[in-house]
Amino acid sequence: MSSWDIEAVVQSIETLYSTNDPEKVKSIQHSLQDLQKSSDGLKLAEILINTESSSNCQFFGALTYTVVLNSSDQLTNEDVDQFVEVQGDHILRLAHNLSPNLFIIRKLLSNVSLAFIKYSNHFDSPMKWLLRIITGAVDEVAGDSAEQVELLNTLSREYLSILIYFSSIIVEDICKLECPNRIHELVVSGQTFGITESIFRLLGGNIPNGLEVIGLDCINSWVTYTSLAEDTSIVRYPNFEVEGTNTTHSVILSFLFKHFNVNLDSDIINKAILVATEIIEINPRLLNHESRDYLKLRMFGQDEFGSMYIRNLIDEGFQEELLTLVSLFIAILRNDILHLAKTVDTDETRHILSMLVELTNVPGIPVEDEQISDLTLEFWEELANVFIDDEETFDVLFSNRSKEEKQSFISTRNSIFEEICYIYWNKIHIPSDPGIFNSIRSEFLHYRSNVSDFFIVIYSLLKEPFYEKLTDNICTEIANRNLIDLESSLFLLYKVTDDISYLESQSSVLLKYIQRIFNSGLLSLISNSSYNNYHLYSTAINFLSSVQFFFKHETGTGSLSEVFDLLFRVLLHDSKGSLSLHCSKTILKICQECREKLVDFLPNLEQLLVEMLRNKDLDNMIRQRMVNSYTSIGRCVRYEKQFGEIVKNELVEINDRVKYTLPISLSSVEDDMFDYLLSLLSCIVEMGKASQIPNEVDEFFTPEQQQFTTSYWREDPLQVQSLIFSIIKQFSFSSEKFDSLVTEKCCLILKSGLGESIPGPFVFPLPTILEYVVMKVENCIEPNSPSSPSSIPFLYSLIESIVLTSSSSQELSSELMTSLLLSIFDSHFQFLQSDPDLIQCCISLFATILEKKPSLIVHNPNFSNSIIPFALDGLLAKELFVLKVTSKFWLTLLTLKKGNMQDQTTVKNLMVESPVGQVFVYSLIKSFINSTRSNLDCYYQVFRNLISKYPTQFKTWTTTSFEKLQLEKEGRTIEKATSDKFISKLVVSRGMRSANDVLKSFWLESNGLIEFNSRSY
């Protein structure tokens, strides 16, 4: 803007602060910013700040000074002096009417602070400067505190407040902006801290009205600042003083502590509490021993501020303020937690802890009525962990004391935690009012989960007696038929049991307690209670799921029948609800873990299963879980004839259901009916999973059983496998609409027997699986067929699984792979290149083959003719999932870890003797340069292995590649000097980790970008 009219500018500023039209704001901002940054910026600022009729213009004037300062490259010392002098004049002028002008004054103060940060070499004492201009002192302000206080004493409340604001602004700005570390030393040497201290010394005597809050805010700013200063410089603020002074409490802390007075306004007390909490949490070194002890006494002493203020807050019902105070209590205690733990048996600590226990036990529903117990929970857990983690400290503590003393200490400690546990047990009772519960549901369940974590910690501390107490409570609650208490206790016991049963050695000690619960009639009490008691049922089902170790043991096997009765009754009663889903999960877990003990249940389960297969309304997940449960138990009969019949009967039932439900084609099926049909197919997947041998074959079968099993399934007298295939075929070539979903399930069925070391109902011959794959791929590619191309990835993934599980098998030969790839890959090369998902699945298969058994493909002539070109094209992809597998392919080809000497020679010849190496490096570099930042990780390892594996060829390949790229002139031009430097650096790195940095720097340079991160994790 070459010329401007001040009236138009004023008008624009007024519009800027009043309009709601974003377009207008944008356009005004744009033109005003141009003006601010122009050579007239300073002149504009001067005019605007003097526009007394408009505060908006005055503020904009102050803001314009900031822009001028920020856009000036390097001001001379005279310019800086003049700049701050101008700011000072305006501050003094506006200070006469402080309140309405405060926001403008703050901006001007911020300008001076910015001048200090930018030009600290010259302007190093901003507070001194302000004090001098405010007091009108002709001489330099003395460094002596007493003289400063004397000078400050002459100032009005308004000027004092400006000084306090300025002190805050300086340190806040230093925290916000990236400043050199020496600025922290200047804060001390330039008297910024000293004058602030003098102000607080003055305020400590008699606080002028209205300065309490800004004084406390100022301390808050300094707390954050001191932490940064101590973190990044040699400056220290022990006891909130500069080093060398050694008083009981610094003047700043004395000012703070003065506000712990119940007669003051609650807002001010609250602010003081927040500041004290900040000090302890951010930089506790600001408090020396005396100050800490003093603070502790004021908070926890009998009839001291803390206890009196709590009473006031509880009486008045001030929840927020109470939470703030409790946070301070916890911060103080946390800071000294080891001492607290060591002295739990002393009167002083007992008094402190009893205060906190009382606060934890504040009446009301957690989340809804009170938040204190949630706040204290973390502290109690931390305290318990001190006893667990620092056990040695306590051993040393009692090494010179009598056994009785130690016992007394432990029993005091235990009784404290038992009391706390009782409080929390009460707190986690589900609120009786469903309206309240539903409104706080997720927060309340979160709270419950936190409480259960605390109980797990307490179990680690109090061990078996604690568990015993929990079970005793449950037995009493069962006897008293107290369902609400029972739910809470059972929930905690379930969580504790679930945690400790991870280790078998720990769970064995719990058997007798679990038995006591079952003997006391838990199951019959639950069975006889109403289904409306959702939480009790849900918790009981979880509990049953956590005690599988008990059912597995001979002590608990007897309870299985009653457990199943209960679980199936709930499941059948509520076949679509969440409780039944939950139940089916527990049944599945029990059946899988205790299958050996459940063989006698098979006939009963069969009847239920048939019902479930026929019931279309049943949740699909439940049906599938039940099939898995039943087959898992069936697998344990260990007599293949019987197992064969079990599997056959299930398949016949499924086949009948399919025939009965499935019309000629799936295409005409409604979506919900398709879900049922797909679930029947999923049931076969579950049968496949459950038919796997659960552990080592030698452990599961005797040699005779192994022999019988092998010959039985080779013969397959019941034609189980052909029945499975017939079902697969009925689905597989039926509808394009549902084809990928169906193919996924069919492939899962065929995968389920892979890797099994002994024949079984789902262990299909390799040629049969491959025949299906070839037929299906052909069908997927054929136009107007019932199969969809989106099914191809599942079929490729099936072959990948075969390679992963059978790479050592003689059956999987290179001839077989060649013929397979000819049918499913070479013949459809172009089609497979047309879609990123298809590219990904093909390259993923090749990478897996190279990883597991490279000889399957590397000697095949089509490897260099079709697979390598396909993988080179993969480098052109932008999709991360394609790049990831492509990078894996090339990495595996370069390293060829599982390759024999012949494989290594073939690949080396291919890379070096043919143009493959050169073409690959060209494609790799091109792809790397054009890659996005998020994809760079895919390239590093490939480059590094290339350098270490082909050190002599690498330089030639890369140099030629850059020359070719130069000729193509695509995208940004890379200078020859740049690429040469890059190549040299890469070669010097010898493929070590440092190559990553070289690559990243080159990528940034080539794309004209910068590094965003300051460090890597």
């Binding site: 400043c179 940064l228 927060e443 991870y502 998020s934």
Partner: protein, 121 residues
């Protein structure tokens, strides 16, 4: 220079890398200056850190795990743990009745930093 105010850990998340890609595009198209991109990423660091704090009350999922501690180190204020044969339990009270989902993984790496870092407050 002073230390960055917030951890840059979350830049490696999908949302973080995607943001960085988008910023790269804007810089390349000369729509923004690199300095602005840095400011945006600093904001991202701050906002993610703040929202993931328990006080924010947004993250209600809880993850607990058990396994064999294979490696642990504490370097430059960063804890690193590598755990093997891990059973991970995911509790999300916002979606179900505190029924846990379990996942078994062979290897689990945890990088943890102190949430009470100076500039983070």
């Amino acid at each position: 220079m002073s230390a960055p105010a917030y951890y840059e850990l979350y830049r490696r998340s999908t949302i973080g890398t995607t943001l960085a890609d988008a910023l790269d595009t804007l810089i390349s198209d000369e729509k923004i200056q690199p300095q602005l991109a840095m400011r945006i990423l600093h904001n991202f660091d701050r906002i993610v850190s703040e929202l993931l704090k328990s006080e924010a009350g947004i993250a209600k999922s809880k993850l607990t795990f058990k396994g064999d501690l294979h490696t642990y180190r504490f370097c430059d204020d960063v804890w690193t743990f590598i755990i093997k044969n891990v059973l991970i339990k995911l509790t999300d009270v916002s979606t179900n009745d505190s029924n846990d989902n379990e996942i078994n993984v062979d290897k689990f790496k945890i990088v943890a930093c102190n949430s009470r870092k100076a500039g983070d407050l």
